[in-house]
């Protein structure tokens, strides 16, 4: 196992897994508290449309995905709030349309098709050094954002109407967190893939909620769980030679079910 650490690609994979684990643990805590899991799934799949278009035009695919991710997050927010279109219908539309556009453009692109499986299921072993710098910067921004704004964010999320009775610039943190969610999804894409990202944003939080119903504690527990389990999953995947994303999700699920059972059986409250 130790010799794995001598390979640069594995070092990169390890660092990326830790960083993405921290970011997903923190951002996912907000997503789960606000019951935004479904909207996050919609954004994730919508971003595939941007990926396809970027591929067709010859731009970096992840930049296209980022653009679509942010645009669909803000789009769903605006259309449901201002135009009174039902939010869950919008999510379904963005979800399927994004996937359709993505696949359409990838097939329209002459020459060889990208490894779709990588984007759908992720492959952390292909993470490059510049991508690590980007993820590191983003992790810093995310932690700073939550360190500064977690109380107003969660207070607002709990009772939005009440928060609006205050002279308080509610839209600033709300738009900020929407952007963070969208970018978290794109940056996790390499690691987890479109299909598996949602598990990074929900299972560590479900585990954290077994231990605490206080968002301040969950914000600490969820990233810790996410990092520990995904690092374990990464080593396991390398040893067994199975794709990392799937192994990590399986590990998270296993840990969740195990702890859930222990709690049911009264081993801890």
């Amino acid at each position: 196992m130790a010799e794995l650490l001598h390979y640069t690609f594995f070092q990169h994979a390890l660092i990326a897994t830790i960083l993405v684990g921290i970011v997903c643990g923190v951002v996912g805590t907000y997503i789960v508290a606000r019951r935004m899991v479904f909207i996050s799934g919609g954004i994730t799949h919508a971003s595939f449309g941007g990926l396809g278009i970027a591929w067709y035009l010859g731009f970096p695919p992840l930049a296209g995905a980022a653009l679509f991710s942010v645009a669909s997050a803000l789009g769903i927010h605006w259309l449901s709030r201002r135009q009174r279109i039902r939010e869950d219908s919008l999510i379904g539309i963005f979800w399927s349309a994004g996937m359709a556009i993505g696949i359409l453009f990838i097939y329209l692109t002459p020459g060889y098709a990208p490894d779709l499986i990588t984007y759908l299921f992720g492959n952390v072993l292909t993470v490059t050094r510049p991508q690590i710098w980007v993820i590191l910067g983003f992790a810093g921004v995310t932690l700073l954002f939550f360190a500064l704004f977690s109380r107003p964010l969660f207070y607002m999320a709990f009772d939005r109407e009440y928060a609006r009775t205050h002279t308080f610039p509610a839209s600033v943190p709300e738009i900020g967190v929407t952007l963070l969610i969208a970018l978290t999804i794109v940056l996790s894409m390499k690691l987890a893939g479109i299909i598996l990202i949602i598990s990074y944003l929900t299972i560590p939080q479900a585990i954290a909620s077994l231990f605490s119903k206080d968002f301040k504690r969950q914000l600490r527990i969820a990233p810790l769980v996410c990092v520990l389990v995904s690092v374990a999953g990464l080593f396991l995947s390398a040893l067994l030679n199975i794709p990392s994303g799937a192994v990590i999700v399986a590990c998270l699920l296993f840990v969740y079910i195990f702890l859930w059972l222990l709690r049911r059986l009264g081993f801890f409250v």
Binding site: T29, A33, R35, L148, F149, R151, P152, F154, Y155, M156, A157, F158, D159, E161, Y162, A163, R164, T165, H166, T167, F168, P169, V172, P173, S209, S212, K213, D214, F215, Q218
Partner: protein, 214 residues
């Protein structure tokens, strides 16, 4: 003493259907106003216009005092996400949103203020408990702490006795009377007798102001 704000010819409703029409009425400091009226008569809509949650389609609400920490709002019933990861202390602290804005930190002083209020309302042992574990009456008191923590000039209460445990209504109104010494109170209620006996001003709303008793 003096006027806090005044509604002038306010018309408001939802999707173009007015629920309130041409409402004129003035709120003086330290008044205790009881608002009654039939269901769908616009009581809650009136509160929403005053609180700035609903933009009137006509007329204005003119404020003579600063808006910051003007209102402490106790919403109707406690329909809230019982699974939301928030402690009872956090519920009380969230009443400081105006005061804190986005940048200011919540300090030990703030937490002591919250603790003192929670103790006053019999919730000290639930300070660290998740809000979803409270009973209806306890949750109502936690939300009252949230409304009071910033010492607002006006307390706005929408049907507050719905969740007060039976037999304690009398006590609750006595409590409001006590609070009225420091706060102006706007109370929406279906209980006309209670409004008549406890409020200084009784207002009957049905699309517009029907009667005012002082």
């Amino acid at each position: 003493m003096g006027t806090l704000f005044e509604l002038k010819q306010v018309t408001a409703g939802y999707d173009g259907n007015p629920v309130l029409e041409n409402v004129d009425f003035r709120v003086e400091e330290f008044d205790f106003i009881g608002i009654t009226g039939p269901n769908g008569g616009g009581k809650t809509t009136l509160l929403k216009v005053i609180l700035g949650l609903l933009k009137p389609s006509g007329g204005t609400v003119a404020f003579s005092v600063p808006l910051r920490n003007l209102f402490g709002y106790l919403p109707q019933q406690n329909v809230f996400d019982k699974q939301f990861p928030l402690t009872v202390e956090d519920v009380a602290l969230s009443g400081l949103l105006s005061e804190k804005g986005i940048w200011k930190r919540y300090t030990r002083d703030d937490r002591e203020r919250a603790a003192a209020l929670l103790e006053q309302y019999g919730l000290e042992s639930y300070r660290r408990a998740p809000v979803g574990e409270l009973s209806g009456g306890q949750a109502q008191r936690a939300f009252l702490c949230r409304a009071l923590i910033a010492s607002p000039r006006v307390l706005v209460l929408d049907e507050p006795t719905t969740y007060v445990d039976a037999g304690f209504e009398q006590e609750f109104y006595d409590l409001l009377k006590e609070l009225n010494r420091r706060h102006t109170i706007l109370l929406v209620s279906h209980d006309r007798d209670a409004v008549r006996s406890y409020c200084k001003t009784a207002l009957r709303i049905d699309r517009s102001v029907q009667t005012v008793h002082t």
